[in-house]
Symmetry: C2
Subunit: 82 residues, 2 copies
């Protein structure tokens, strides 16, 4: 199954609790799209969030984020990992 790294902008000042809530919203609906979100990292100063997931397609990853209320700004299929 392909892996994806997606990027969200605008999360300046977001707390750990708020990021956990957003991540939990993804986990709640991800099964409908065959996606699994593994981890997410936030830089609260620049407001960037990086989410690592696996799933059938970038479109499926985006549908999960849309259903959870926070569509991604970029989704990259990371076919190579070290």
């Amino acid at each position: 199954m392909p892996k994806f790294m997606d990027v969200h902008r605008g999360f300046v000042g977001v707390t750990a609790e708020q990021l956990q809530e957003a991540h939990d919203a993804d986990l709640k609906v991800e099964g409908e799209e065959g996606v699994h979100f593994e981890r997410a990292w936030l830089d609260p100063k620049s407001g960037l969030v990086f989410c690592l997931s696996e799933g059938p397609s970038a479109e499926a990853v985006q549908r999960v984020h849309e259903k959870a209320g926070h569509p991604a700004d970029e989704i990259h299929q990371v076919d190579i990992e070290v």
Copy 2:
């Protein structure tokens, strides 16, 4: 120790072997700066590489990448992780 996600652009068409070589070059010199690169992910279509590391500062992370011959385009301190 803070964690960092850095982003490199321009790695279009780079292979797994080439990414491994670049990652190995980081690992070879990272100790001089007290940095450790954990993982890296590449989208060979968009040419973006995401590197996850921990270290004392973004500057230290960049010095490792510079010594290895591939300075990062962005370095984000990811203080929050889920």
